[in-house]
Structures are given as structure tokens and as C-alpha cells.
Amino acid sequence: MDVKYIAPFMDSLVKVLNDFGISDVKRGKILMKESMNVDMDITSVIGIIGDIRGNIAYSLSADTARHIISAMMMGAPVPEINAIGRSAIGELSNMITGAASSQFSTTGIKANITPPSIVFGKDIYFVISSLILLLLP
């Protein structure tokens, strides 16, 4: 998938994190891959159908995820990622998806976005067709 379609997702990710008071978003690499060993702990995958067809995924380390979950929970400490934390990441994915969807609709690019799915776990090997992957270490 063409990397130019990544902008609405990148912008939405930054905006949503800013809304939770996280302004120091350090982007890692942007990769276009078909298969990968992901050594990050959390990967969220969103599908796109329309003028473009493919998948966008963002992968977070557990530390980054805990930081984000804490911010979403008004600064509460998050010693480990439990069911509530995973739910928060799910909520984050939905917000990013929604914001990206709105952005696409203003650009004239017909892009219908599918519901996000999130995979938690270490040392996961993915095969995802036509993927743009954002790494957030």
C-alpha cells in the first residue's frame, strides 16, 4: 500500500495521544512489510477498503502502552497491562480509527475503515498482506 495513505493514521494517532496529554510521541520506523516478527507487545491492525485496500498496524512496547493507559486513566499507575488496560488500548484504537476515517472523508479519498483488532503477546509472527506498520517503541 502506498505510504501516502499513512498520513491520516499518523495524524490521528498524534492527535488522540495529545488529547490525553501525551505530546512526546516519538515515531519509530514506518515499514512496508508482508511478514514480520513483532517484538513489541501490542499490535493493532486496521483494514482499509475503497480507493485503497490494505492494512495499517501500529505496534507498541509494553512501556509505551502503560504510559498511554495511565494517561487515559487520569494518571493512575499501571504496573502491568491487565484486562482494563487492554480495554483502554482497544478504546485508543477505536478513537484513532474514527479520527482517521474523518480525515479521509475530507481528502476525497474513498477509504472505508474496518474495525480495529488488537493482538497482545510477545514474540508474535505476523503475515499481513499489503501492510504499513508504524512502530512506537
Binding site: 500500500m1 485503497i52 485496500r53 490494505g54 498482506s129 499489503s130
Partner: protein
């Protein structure tokens, strides 16, 4: 002379299964494309007799690719049979495909008999 076939599908499994069947029954697989755009480019270079075309593919989907290939056929006054092979086969999609000039619409999954019957209809 062996009939030359181009396979356009984003699934490595489909390429592998189709190729096995076609070679077994004496056809030549002259090209493998993994999306519609590659398929159109390969069609122009290779001029196959038959194209197996998936619908749901990245970069360019199969319906768009069929449109492009039909244009090439008109430009160059050549004939090619396009066999659409897709997991999605609702009525609206099959009608669209036929209106674009797809010769036969097959739904996945397929077996040897289905593929070879379709190929024999292209002769």
C-alpha cells in the same frame, strides 16, 4: 502449442494450487502477478491466452484490472479470455464482472475439474 496462462492473485496459496493443476493438464503458466496493476503490466508484456483474475487485491482490484486488460485487447486487437476466480461472488459482483467482459466467473474454492472445465471452454 500449449495455451499460456497468467495468474493474478494476492494469495501465494492460490498461485501454487492453480499452477499445479494447470501444469498437470498441459497448460503453460507464463506469469504470476500479485495485484491488479502487476497483472495489467504482465498482460501487456506476455500476451497470455487466458488470465485467472482474483477480485480483492491491493493496489488495483480485479475488476479495475479487467477494464484495463480489455482496453489493451482493443488497442492491440488481441483476444484473451479472463476467468474471474474469487472468494466473493454475490450477484451484484458477478453481474459487474460479466458486464466488464469476464468470460467465466468461478467462486473459490475450486478443484481440478472446475479449473480444467473452465479452460476447455476457452478453447
Amino acid at each position: 502449442m500449449k495455451k499460456r496462462v497468467l495468474i493474478v492473485d494476492d494469495s501465494p496459496l492460490i498461485h501454487s494450487l492453480l499452477r499445479k493443476t494447470l501444469l498437470k493438464y498441459g497448460y503453460e503458466v507464463c506469469g504470476d502477478a500479485k495485484n491488479g496493476r502487476e497483472g495489467v503490466e504482465m498482460f501487456r508484456q506476455l500476451m497470455p491466452d487466458t488470465v485467472f483474475m482474483d477480485i480483492n487485491m491491493p493496489v488495483m482490484d480485479g475488476l479495475e484490472a479487467v477494464k484495463n486488460i480489455k482496453q489493451i485487447c482493443e488497442e492491440l486487437n488481441v483476444k484473451a479470455r479472463i476467468i474471474m476466480l474469487s472468494a466473493i461472488g454475490d450477484d451484484e459482483v458477478t453481474v459487474k464482472a460479466r458486464n466488464l467482459g469476464v468470460f467465466i466467473f468461478l467462486k473459490k474454492p475450486f478443484d481440478d475439474y472446475t479449473i480444467i472445465s473452465a479452460m476447455s471452454m476457452t478453447e
